[in-house]
C-alpha cells in the first residue's frame, strides 16, 4: 500500500536535496561540461569547503552560509592556480585528456588523505540556530536544514545561468571549448577565459561544501559518493547546461529519495552511479564521445 503522505514527503525531500545537488554539481557542469576538463576531484573540493566551514563555525561561530560566501574568492583563486598548473603541465603539452583525468584522480586522493590527517575520520557537523527548525505545510514538513541549501543551490544556479547568458565573459566561457581558436579570433584569450571559468567552478564548491555540512555530518570519504552524483548530473543535464544541471539534479534527488523510502537507504547511494553507468552505456556512440 503506497501512502500518499510518504510519497509526497519523499518527493519534496528529493526536490530539496536536488537543489543542493545542483550546487554540488555546478562546478562539474562548468569545468567538465564547458571546459572539457574531467576534474574528478571536484567533490573533494566540496568536502574541503565543508571542513573549512566546520572549522570556522565551530571555532568562531560563523554562520555556515556566510563562511561559504567568504570562502568563494579564496576558492576562486585556488581554482585559478589549479587550472594554470593543469594548463602548464597538460593542455599546453597537448597531453591526452586521460592523463589529466589520472592527475585529478591523484589530487582526489591527496585532498582526501590530507583531510584525514588534519581532521581525522570522525563525523563533524555545524551549528546554526535555524537548522533545527522546520516549516510545516500541512502534510509536508520542510526542514530548514534542507530548505536553505535548496534555496541557495537554486539561487547559485540561476545566478550562473544569467552570468553565462548575459555577460561577455560568460558567453566566452560557453564558447571556449566549442572552438578555442575561434574564440581567440574574437579577441579573447582562451587560457584566461578557461582560468576564470575553472575558478568559478571551484568557487561554487566552497558554497556547496557549506551547504553539505549543514545537511548532514561529514567525513572525508563522503566525497567519493559525490563523484557519481556530480557526473550523473552533469551528463544527464546535457554537458555544460546550467539549467539542465538543476533539472537533472532534482530528478536525481527525487530518484534517490524514492529509492531510500521504498528500498532502503543502502540502495540510494548507488542510484547516481547506476544512472551514470546506464547513460554512458546506452547513449548512442559519438554523441559526446571524444
Amino acid at each position: 500500500m503506497v501512502s500518499i503522505d510518504l510519497l509526497l514527503n519523499a518527493v519534496v525531500a528529493g526536490i530539496l536535496i536536488g537543489g543542493f545537488y545542483a550546487a554540488v554539481s555546478l562546478g562539474i557542469s562548468v569545468v567538465f561540461g564547458l571546459l572539457d576538463i574531467a576534474n574528478i576531484a571536484h567533490p573533494l573540493f566540496v568536502i574541503t569547503g565543508s571542513y573549512f566551514t566546520f572549522y570556522l563555525n565551530s571555532n568562531f561561530g560563523l554562520d555556515p552560509i556566510l563562511v561559504g560566501l567568504i570562502l568563494m574568492p579564496l576558492f576562486f583563486v585556488i581554482g585559478n592556480i589549479v587550472y594554470q598548473s593543469y594548463y602548464h603541465f597538460f593542455e599546453k603539452q597537448g597531453a591526452e585528456p586521460l592523463r589529466g583525468l589520472v592527475f585529478f584522480f591523484g589530487v582526489l586522493f591527496l585532498i582526501e588523505v590530507s583531510i584525514i590527517i588534519t581532521f581525522g575520520v570522525d563525523y563533524q557537523l555545524v551549528e546554526a540556530a535555524y537548522l533545527g527548525e522546520s516549516l510545516n505545510l500541512g502534510i509536508v514538513n520542510v526542514s530548514y536544514r534542507l530548505f536553505i541549501p535548496f534555496l541557495v543551490g537554486v539561487l547559485l544556479t540561476t545566478g550562473l545561468h544569467f552570468f553565462f547568458a548575459k555577460t561577455f565573459y560568460g558567453r566566452a566561457i560557453m564558447g571556449v571549448s566549442q572552438d578555442s581558436l575561434a574564440l581567440s579570433l574574437m579577441g579573447a584569450d582562451p587560457v584566461r577565459i578557461k582560468s576564470v571559468a575553472f575558478g568559478i567552478g571551484i568557487a561554487t564548491a566552497s558554497m556547496a561544501g557549506a551547504l553539505l555540512v549543514m545537511i548532514l555530518p561529514i567525513e572525508p570519504a563522503l566525497g567519493r559518493e559525490y563523484i557519481g552524483r556530480v557526473f550523473a548530473v552533469a551528463v544527464l543535464g546535457g554537458l555544460g547546461s546550467v539549467k539542465g544541471a538543476l533539472f537533472a539534479a532534482i530528478i536525481l534527488g527525487i530518484a534517490e529519495s524514492l529509492t531510500a523510502t521504498y528500498f532502503g537507504a543502502a540502495w540510494s547511494s548507488g542510484v547516481s552511479f547506476g544512472f551514470l553507468l546506464l547513460v554512458l552505456a546506452v547513449r548512442p556512440a559519438g554523441l559526446f564521445g571524444r
Binding site: 564558447g175 574564440l183 574574437m186 579577441g187 579573447a188
Partner: protein
C-alpha cells in the same frame, strides 16, 4: 614542411585583394600566418595604423584582433552549440567593438535579414549558407579595419556563392574595410576583387589586376596545371 617560400604580398587601405589557387598550395597558411595562428619561420608582417608600423610576427591571434584585424576562418568555425545571437555577441568581445554593439548588430541583420529571423537558433543547426553568413556577420561585429576571409565558398551552391560575394562587397564599401580573401572559386572571386595573387606550391606565380586575372587561359594554366 615548407608551405610558403619567400612570399610577399601587400595591400593598401580600402583594397580587396584575393589569393587564388587550389587546395594545399599555401593560401590558407598565409592568412593564418598573418593572424598569428601559424608562426612564420622567417619574415615580417607589417601593419600600419595611424602612421605607426607594427610587426605582427610573434603576436597572438587575440592581440591581432584587438588591433582591428579580424578573420573569417575556413570552415566557418562558429560556436555550434550557441545561438546565432550569442555567436554575434561573442564577435563583439573586444573592447572597442562592445561600444558599437547595437549599431553593428542592426547592420548585420540588415545585410543578412535571415540571421535576424533565426536569432535564437543554434548555429550548428543552420544550413551551410546561413552559417557562412553568420561567420561573416560575427567578424563584422568586432568592428574590424581589415577583414581576412579564408575560403568562404567551400561547400556552398553556386547561387549562394554569388550572393555571398555581393554581400562581402557591400559590407566592404559600407564599412570601409580592407579585405584579403582566399578563394578557389575563380570567377566569383575576381568579380569583387581589385587585385589578386595566384599561389602555386607555396610560391606566388602570378600577380595582377582584376582584368589580368580574368583571362581564362591563365586560370587554366595555373589552376588546372595544363
Amino acid at each position: 614542411m615548407k608551405v610558403l617560400h619567400d612570399v610577399s604580398i601587400e595591400m593598401t587601405e580600402g583594397e580587396t585583394v584575393i589569393l587564388l589557387g587550389t587546395n594545399g598550395n599555401g593560401k590558407s597558411t598565409l592568412i593564418k600566418t598573418i593572424m598569428g595562428i601559424v608562426p612564420p619561420n622567417q619574415g615580417e608582417i607589417i601593419f600600419e595604423s595611424e602612421g605607426v608600423q607594427i610587426n605582427l610576427v610573434g603576436k597572438k591571434p587575440q592581440e591581432i584582433v584587438n588591433m582591428g584585424i579580424t578573420m573569417v576562418p575556413e570552415g566557418r568555425r562558429l560556436f555550434p552549440q550557441l545561438t546565432v545571437e550569442e555567436n554575434l555577441y561573442l564577435g563583439a568581445f573586444r573592447r572597442e567593438a562592445r561600444q558599437n554593439l547595437e549599431r553593428n548588430l542592426s547592420y548585420c541583420f540588415e545585410v543578412f535579414p535571415r540571421l535576424g529571423e533565426r536569432r535564437t537558433q543554434l548555429a550548428g543547426s543552420m544550413s551551410g549558407g546561413e552559417q557562412q553568413m553568420l561567420a561573416l556577420a560575427r567578424a563584422i561585429m568586432s568592428s574590424p579595419k581589415i577583414l581576412l576571409i579564408d575560403e568562404p565558398s567551400v561547400g556552398l551552391a553556386p547561387i549562394l556563392v554569388s550572393q555571398l560575394m555581393t554581400s562581402i562587397k557591400e559590407m566592404k564599401e559600407n564599412l570601409n574595410l580592407t579585405v584579403l580573401m582566399t578563394e578557389q572559386n575563380f570567377s566569383q572571386a575576381t568579380k569583387i576583387a581589385d587585385r589578386g595573387y595566384i599561389i602555386v606550391h607555396g610560391k606566388i606565380e602570378f600577380r595582377g589586376s582584376n582584368v589580368e586575372l580574368s583571362g581564362n587561359e591563365l586560370v587554366k594554366q595555373y589552376y588546372l596545371g595544363t
